[in-house]
């Protein structure tokens, strides 16, 4: 059936043949051993934290040490009835309603626009859009604070149109959803553009050639041919952006830490739900309520993950060895 092909790799493999029997005696199958460390990691850092949080969410901490199942649903009531809970979700909702459409439509439009012509200019621009991915996390907040400072910003001309002269004119609670949207877009758009562009490159050139012969202009080709063919990518981006943005923490956390003492515009340290669970745990010492709230966030993430697998069909476990 298969003709063995001699290769240097194999000759050395044969010479080590004696080790084989020892391995077999020690372990059930080699594949199990190969997978074992990962299974341990999967349990320890993928499954157990969720189960442990579930346990804590029903625990009472009245005596200082957790009494499991002693609290019933009390922690959930505490977390969900907290006066900050509603505000945090309203904030994140305002952020989502701007950031998700802005991101999804913006990225799709840019990818299609780039793909109209695939020369050096398109490639150079794609690289420039992609680079800010490197400033994810606190650096993008620092950079945004600089960019929002009308005194030093290269965009200072824009701010003067809106009569904004100082950073505190820009960093206002009302502006936060838009600011976080811009931060997210600045950092994340390039990566998604590259993913969508990859999808566009996968479209058969015969198809695009046929459209051209039939007289379709670039606009029609983009909207009627290319867009439907990369639709799964757009859905994937939509769900992952939604599920990821709900979890926003870094940006509001750093902005609020930096502006809480200014006095003019106080930005809440519990702006987003994840900040609120952090606050429950570390400022109020209420680990039960923190666990309850973080489980809600896990549930939202799980729904997103399941939707991606079901709806896009991108990720399958069907790839088999044979």
């Amino acid at each position: 059936m298969n003709t063995p092909i001699a290769s240097p790799a194999m000759t050395s493999a044969v010479s080590k043949g004696k080790i084989k029997s020892r391995w077999r005696r020690l372990f059930p199958t080699a594949a199990d051993v190969f997978v074992l460390p990962y299974v341990l990691f999967l349990l320890a850092f993928g499954i157990l934290p969720g189960l442990f949080a579930l346990g804590l969410s029903f625990a009472s901490f009245a005596n200082g040490t957790p009494q499991y199942f002693a609290a019933g649903l009390q922690n959930y009531v505490t977390a969900f009835r907290d006066f900050r809970f509603g505000t945090a979700f309203v904030n994140v909702f305002q952020f989502l309603i701007i950031s998700v459409p802005f991101g999804v439509i913006g990225v799709t439009a840019i990818a299609l626009l780039l793909h109209v012509r695939t020369g050096w200019f398109s490639h150079a621009m794609r690289t420039i859009y992609f680079l800010p991915g490197a400033v994810a996390g606190p650096p993008v907040v620092l950079l945004t604070l600089f960019m929002c400072d009308p005194q030093v910003s290269p965009f200072r001309g824009l701010f003067s149109i809106f009569h904004m002269q100082q950073m505190i004119d820009v960093i206002q609670p009302d502006h936060l959803p838009l600011l976080f949207t811009l931060m997210g877009f600045f950092v994340g758009a390039g990566g998604w553009i590259a993913i969508l562009y990859g999808g566009l490159q996968g479209i058969s050139s015969d198809l695009l050639e046929a459209a051209k012969i039939d007289g379709a202009n670039a606009w029609q080709t983009a909207l009627l041919i290319k867009l439907p063919l990369i639709w799964r990518y757009v859905i994937y981006m939509f769900i992952l952006t939604f599920a990821g943005n709900v979890q926003i923490f870094t940006e509001p956390q750093i902005v609020s830490a930096n502006f809480s003492y200014i006095g003019i515009s106080t930005i809440s340290p519990t702006w987003s739900p994840n900040q609120l669970s952090y606050y429950f745990a570390f400022s109020l010492g209420n680990f039960g309520a923190a666990a309850a709230l973080s489980l809600l966030m896990v549930a939202i993430g799980l729904i997103g993950a399941t939707l991606i697998i079901r709806v896009t069909g991108f990720f399958s476990t069907d790839a088999t060895a044979d």
Binding site: T29, A53, W120, Q201, N217, I254, S294, A319, A321, D322
Partner: protein, 314 residues
């Protein structure tokens, strides 16, 4: 479903970024061409200008930053003044943060690869026990936003008393389910099955197959895994912020936040003895961003390859 096979020597994931499967369309017209050009250029300014500004900022004094043209270049000597000023913050703790960042990133990467590669290989080439459930859990956990598990992870690490140690950051980030999935797909599609079968007939065991055939043929996969894992670890903020309490164990992102909050550089007018101004903060930002920016410059092809959507193209 994955169809088709690829020889591992073919250059999927590493093919030239500028490959042009479609010839330049002439269906856009001169006005359209101009509009497209300027739209893309404006976007280029939105994405590029802040980065250029950040790189130039450490060369300028506060006065130059506020009064000169935003893209003016100061002097390189100014960077030499910024650095000692930056070191004045908490006895030069930024050096420690940098060392920590490198240590955490390297340790996480080595651990992640050591776990991911054999697992992906075995899941693709054999049928280890519980294969289907392992793959299903991998899919779900890899698509779960990392932030969702930070608080639960803290509660767990607190229980085993690892909080405030490097392990509290290294271990959870070395859990890299996306990596396992990518390795699984890569090995399933690109390992020459005949070669594996032939080596088995010649008496090679699974470990030898993995070590002598699987690993040497994994170069494109390794590049992708290193890119994804390194950038995620280097920029990681939420998890270390929650896990690490002493400034001496911070990584750069958490340190940078402490630096922003602990100085008044962004609030001119408030007086302070700490000689950290905008230029010093910008320098700290550049120090943090530069390693990842270099990685990013050479890694776009991994993202365009389609690997992140689970597909493999020739």
């Amino acid at each position: 479903m994955l169809r088709g096979t690829l020889s591992a020597s073919s250059s999927w994931w590493t093919r030239p970024w500028y490959r042009r499967p479609v010839k330049a369309s002439k269906t856009i017209g001169p006005v359209g061409t101009l509009v497209r050009f300027f739209a893309l250029l404006l976007l280029g300014i939105f994405f590029g200008l802040p980065l250029v500004w950040l790189i130039l900022a450490p060369t300028k004094t506060d006065v130059q930053l506020t009064q000169n043209f935003p893209l003016s270049v100061g002097s390189l000597a100014k960077i030499g003044e910024d650095w000692p000023n930056l070191l004045s913050f908490d006895n030069g703790v930024i050096v420690q943060w940098s060392i920590n960042s490198v240590l955490y990133a390297v340790a996480t990467l080595i651990l992640a690869l050591a776990v991911v590669l054999p697992a992906g290989y075995a899941l693709a080439t054999s049928r280890p026990k519980g294969r289907n459930i392992i793959l299903s859990l991998t899919l779900v956990t890899m698509l779960l936003p990392i932030s969702a598990l930070v608080l639960p992870l803290f509660l767990e690490m607190n229980l085993v008393q690892l909080v405030n140690t490097p392990w509290s950051v290294i271990l959870p980030t070395a859990f890299f389910p996306f990596g396992v999935y990518l390795a699984f797909i890569y090995y399933a599609v690109s390992l020459p099955k005949d070669l594996l079968a032939a080596a088995r007939i010649d008496g090679a065991n699974e470990w030898q197959l993995f070590w002598n055939i699987g690993l040497p043929l994994s170069r494109p996969l390794l590049g992708l895994l290193v890119f994804l894992n390194f950038t995620a670890t280097w920029n990681n903020y939420f998890l270390p912020f929650v896990m690490l309490q002493d400034t001496s164990v911070y990584n750069l992102p958490v340190g940078l936040q402490a630096l922003i909050a602990g100085t008044t550089a962004l609030h001119p007018g408030t007086s302070t003895n700490i000689p950290i101004h905008r230029a010093e903060l910008a320098l700290a930002g550049v120090i943090m961003v530069l390693p990842v920016a270099i990685v990013f410059l050479f890694s776009q092809r991994f993202v365009t390859s389609g690997a992140l959507t689970g597909s493999i193209k020739d």
